[in-house]
Symmetry: C2
Subunit: 330 residues, 2 copies
């Protein structure tokens, strides 16, 4: 086998799944997307996964013999070791779906199975923001906060596939903190996800008597929800209330970062998702709070940056996990 | 080399250092203790380390040729990779002490260097509470809260040697939480270390008008500090105020545990130090709060136990790190 080998990465999301062939240096061929259509049932879901993988290989113009392994990333709840999707809330009504086994049999290739946020972290570690570090934590800010922890080339999967569920680290006491989507209180996600930023903004606007352009934004587009991006844009344009919200968001994210520093002490903490367009000012604020509230020595050393791969991180990371599977000889 | 080989573990503390030879199964020979006498300077300290190691080998009745490697555990601040003690607050006036290099040259053996709390966690993982698991977190409750995280046979050292500083995970916001010895607010250590338990008890007594035997304890031994052990004993004897303090302590420790579950999701969380004598009732309380406040699935699966090696965990773990160094062929 002197010819270079390739890997397929598939990232299954609640709405669409995205797949691409990735080369040994982490460079992807053009990706393909298919609707997940979870409501059509898990048999349909598994077939769509196989179809996405086939299309990705076709798109890359490669023969099946050039594919060394396949990586599949899916949302939790899952059992990573067994290769099962258990009962993910955003893939209803799927339950106990044998993803790894199905894909393995469909293609007769080694299959790596990973949580989608872990895969994104591994993608960033392999060829993105973390390509020059030996350990990193990725926070992905969206509807919720996903995350992944990579140490010495390995994803911290957790004994029960809950490693890196860092949106559910608590930053406030459970009897006092904000209510999280998980039903508990005080989780980081309830403060700093895009959804939480909007919720905090609406609360603040209700109590705020001063002028804020965000009121116009709400009035302009009747019925449509204010977006976290609009809050960040308003802050950049000098809106005081928005600036407070953004500052608080940096503070909350920094508390999550200091918790990671005191537990796994990574070389890099990276932020992905929509908010990563908030620019250097926002990162600088996070760094400032990390310096104030983190353990002095590691807080002064840790690198804090934005993620670099955008929504490609998942399938690139899945392909990277497949590559690691082959490299480690398992 | 058909004869079985042995490892020396040395655990350097603020007051004494303790060393013993440990066999390949983690069973220690009798240990030796020498005063650390940090105030006599670091040259003296390094010589005492070498002397402890020599005495331990002598005590085991073994020739130097039977020792495969030496492990040394010391308190932080340190640089684990470089084998340096930097400026540990309880080893004043030591500074930038080249421990690993010194011991390596003194004995001409491979030397593993590790943080003392990490070493204790590795000891428990190797032959103590964690001997049957593949990942664990140890909380050691004393003057402060030390800790260590072991995942898949490896100590999570951290990029800046601050991995497992889990006493400084925050459980409350930094503008509101209790003041910690580290100068920041809200750290777990400020709530649940033995010192913090006593501090919280004194505060509660000042505000409490009901009867409590802890007042007698304070009166009995004039000038002497109430101990965390006495608080736990009082609770076991039915003292209401003490029971509240103990219950709160379990709650705080559970918050630390749920943070570990959401980050590294270990198979086992173990508690060492004096409070581990508080018995099964205390552990049951911690488990109950973990079930209430942790991510449901992993919280229902994680094992929660006391540590088993007592104050031997440090040197046994240091020897275990030495063994791992040899096994991994580095």
């Amino acid at each position: 086998m002197s010819e270079p080998m390739f890997y397929v990465g598939l990232d299954v999301g609640g709405t669409t799944m995205k797949a691409a062939v990735v080369d040994d240096q982490g460079k992807p061929f053009p990706s393909v997307s298919l609707p997940t259509d979870a409501h059509l049932g898990q048999e349909h879901g598994l077939k769509t996964m196989a179809e996405s993988i086939r299309l990705a290989i076709q798109t890359a113009g490669l023969g099946m013999d050039r594919i060394a392994a396949i990586g599949v990333a899916t949302p939790g709840l899952m059992d990573i070791k067994l290769g099962l999707i258990l009962e993910p809330p955003n893939l209803k009504p799927w339950r106990n779906v044998p993803v790894a086994q199905y894909v393995r049999q469909a293609f007769n290739k080694p299959v790596a199975f990973q949580n989608d946020a872990n895969a994104a972290a591994f993608g960033e570690f392999w060829v993105g923001a973390g390509r020059d570090v030996s350990s990193m934590v990725l926070f992905t800010l969206g509807t919720g906060i996903g995350g992944g922890i990579i140490i010495g080339d390995r994803v911290i999967e957790g004994e029960h596939s809950h490693g890196g569920e860092i949106g559910h680290m608590r930053i406030d006491l459970p009897d006092r903190g904000r209510l999280c989507g998980c039903g508990r209180r005080g989780c980081l996600e309830a403060y700093a996800s895009a959804t939480a930023v909007v919720a905090r903004t609406r609360e603040a606007m209700a109590a705020y008597r001063g002028p804020t352009r965000m009121r116009e934004l709400l009035r302009d587009e009747d019925g449509s929800e204010l977006s976290a991006r609009e809050v960040f844009e308003s802050a950049a344009k000098g809106d005081h209330l928005a600036q407070e919200i953004v500052d608080d968001t940096a503070y909350y994210l920094a508390l999550g970062a200091t918790a990671m520093i005191a537990t796994v002490d990574p070389q890099l903490i990276a932020y992905g998702g929509g908010m990563s367009e908030a620019g250097d000012v926002f990162l600088a604020k996070i760094r400032e709070y990390v310096g104030r509230f983190g353990l002095s020595y590691p807080a002064s050393k840790v690198q804090i940056h934005y993620a670099q791969l955008g929504s490609d991180a998942g399938f690139i990371g899945a392909a990277g996990c497949a590559r690691q599977l082959v490299m480690s000889g398992s």
